[in-house]
């Protein structure tokens, strides 16, 4: 059962029956393990990995570096939680190094990202400064290479 999470992170659409076979376990045990992971919050959800550059609806992504003033008692947690609430925000990480919070944002246009940063993010009280970096091309996302040439099977052996 050790490899269950790895299998799911690679392909969440495998059926419990397939997972059970691959893990040498029973379907019931796999179902129970998944349920347990879901319940305890190890598995937070399942979603499609989309290459937005190819999708019909255009989106823009940006990495925003935030410097914030940590609060008494709660430190960075409270401000980080505030930031997670914006629906434009895809992910939030507390960083060691030159800035505090790394915020990944997705919006339909650069204009909307700019407005979001200027009007909503930088106006939060603990935020000292922001630096916005727009994503130009995605080569790999969520562990999946998005550049097309990696998909080609170049193996051409004709004898073995």
């Amino acid at each position: 059962m050790n490899n269950l999470l790895e299998l799911l992170t690679e392909n969440a659409r495998l059926t419990n029956a397939q997972l059970a076979v691959m893990l040498g376990s029973s379907e019931e045990d796999v179902a129970a393990a998944i349920q347990q992971y879901e319940k305890s919050g190890v598995i937070k959800g399942y979603k499609a990995l989309v290459d937005w550059d190819k999708a019909p609806q255009k989106t823009v992504s940006a990495l925003i570096e935030l410097k914030v003033t940590p609060q008494k008692e709660t430190g960075f947690d409270e401000i980080a939680r505030r930031v997670t609430m914006f629906e434009e925000v895809e992910s939030v990480y507390l960083m060691a190094g030159g800035y505090d919070l790394a915020v990944m944002v997705k919006a339909p246009s650069m204009q909307e990202v700019s407005t979001f940063v200027a009007k909503r993010l930088s106006t939060l009280e603990p935020v000292q400064s922001t630096a916005t970096h727009f994503v130009m091309t995605r080569y790999k996302d969520g562990g999946v290479a998005l550049c097309d040439d990696t998909e080609v099977d170049e193996r051409r052996n004709v004898l073995l």
């Binding site: 490899n3 299998l7 690679e10 392909n11 495998l14 397939q18 076979v21 691959m22 893990l23 040498g24 099977d153 193996r155 052996n157 004709v158 004898l159 073995l160």
Partner: protein, 398 residues
């Protein structure tokens, strides 16, 4: 006009071309073919191993190596063999680094076999043994292994085929294409027979690291009194996903290896230099890579065996390599018909069993050296195909 037929060596003309090629040719003509026919890892060489190769190039290490291979590499090979299989070899005298396992097999056969001498080849097995024996003017003697013995060579089968002309037994386990594995107890039975004769064993252990289940892989040379009668062939292609680097090795008694080295020196000079640098890194720091890949293969193996059984094809559970060898007799088609219709009607390429010897008839080789997603889709298509064949059969019988 030059009559080339007249000029060519007549032994080489007698060597049959590989039966697998045809299917690759068909597959290459078509779009959207899902192949399960390839016999090499889908993983790329681990990055740290590639980096060692790159670094050697950056430093300009582009010369020949010693004929036997770098001393450092030979030492690492011996260390690996001692820790994994508990057999001691001397790096100066008992090891030869070759261009893939295939070169080692060829050298071993040419070094040992005199014209007319017999070489025992259990089949189904790798396609190279028979032509190599023919080119050495030896006589290939085929031993047909059976599914009821899990495609293992039995002591009785071996005994029945030994004559006073027998020089060499090729022991191709873990087996391509069946996935059969000789466990220690089976090897011991074979060793009992070997001891009573003057026969050398060429143990092709290229897939040894891809052995599944709780039992660790066993080298035939670790069986009592077999070290002195065995030439072990192994390499980096399958265990470290290094096929394109072309690097293998032979381990054996000094007297044999030194003669093999002589041939290698004249025909090849030395195995690829860059690959040797990479291989040193692989042996030093690559045990985890093997483990990771084996875990992946093992999961795919289960998925595939289960898939074939669910569609009603009997499928022996392979214990090694990365192939399954399901029986397709129940469909009423020959292996070749099955493969050709499968590729034309469902765009899935698998290899007909007889490509690995006549006794492979009724079976097909299916490689699981592919992603789970790829395998799942291919199984779906094969299942649809098998159901269609069944429906046809019912229709015919009406």
């Amino acid at each position: 006009m030059i009559d080339y037929q007249h000029l060519l060596n007549h032994h080489i003309k007698e060597v049959k071309p590989s039966g697998i090629r045809r299917f690759f040719d068909i597959a290459n003509e078509m779009d959207d073919v899902i192949s399960l026919s390839i016999g090499e890892p889908d993983f790329t060489t681990p990055w740290h191993v590639r980096e060692a190769g790159i670094e050697s190039l950056q430093k300009g290490k582009t010369w020949y190596t010693p004929n036997r291979g770098f001393a450092e590499l030979r030492q690492e090979i011996c260390k690996y063999f001692a820790r994994r299989f508990h057999v001691q070899y001397h790096p100066d005298t008992d090891v030869l680094v070759t261009v893939g396992g295939s070169e080692a097999i060829d050298l071993c056969i040419r070094t040992l076999v005199n014209p007319g001498e017999e070489v025992l080849i259990p089949q189904p097995s790798f396609v190279c043994y028979e032509p190599m024996v023919q080119m050495a003017l030896g006589k290939p003697v085929i031993i047909e292994t059976k599914i009821e013995n899990n495609f293992r060579l039995t002591a009785q089968e071996l005994r029945e085929h030994i004559t006073d002309k027998t020089k060499l037994l090729i022991l191709p386990y873990p087996n391509n294409p069946t996935g059969g594995v000789m466990r220690r107890e089976h090897m011991e039975e074979i060793a009992e027979v070997i001891k009573q004769h003057d026969i050398i064993v060429l143990s092709d252990e290229i897939y040894s690291e891809l052995t599944y289940g709780d039992r660790p892989p066993v080298s035939f040379s670790s069986i009592q009194q077999m070290r002195e009668r065995t030439v072990v062939v192994n390499g980096f292609s399958k265990s470290y996903a290094m096929t394109g680097w072309r690097l293998g090795y032979a381990l054996g008694p000094e007297e044999i290896v030194s003669q093999m080295t002589k041939l290698h020196q004249y025909a090849i000079m030395s195995a690829p230099t860059t690959a040797q640098y990479a291989a040193i890194e692989a042996l030093r720091h690559g045990d985890n890579d093997i483990e990771k890949m084996r875990t992946q293969y093992d999961m795919r193996r289960r998925l595939m065996v289960d898939g074939f059984r669910n569609m009603g094809l009997s499928c022996f559970e392979p214990e090694g390599a990365f192939y399954v060898f399901p029986c397709i007799r129940s469909t009423g088609l020959s292996s070749e018909e099955f493969c050709e219709r499968l590729i034309r009607e469902e765009r899935v390429a698998v290899v007909p069993g007889p490509a690995f010897g006549a006794c492979g008839e009724g079976f097909v080789r299916v490689s699981y050296s592919y992603s789970v997603k790829h395998i799942a889709e291919a199984l779906k298509r094969i299942e649809r195909f098998v159901h269609k064949l069944r429906a046809e059969k019912v229709e015919e019988n009406r």
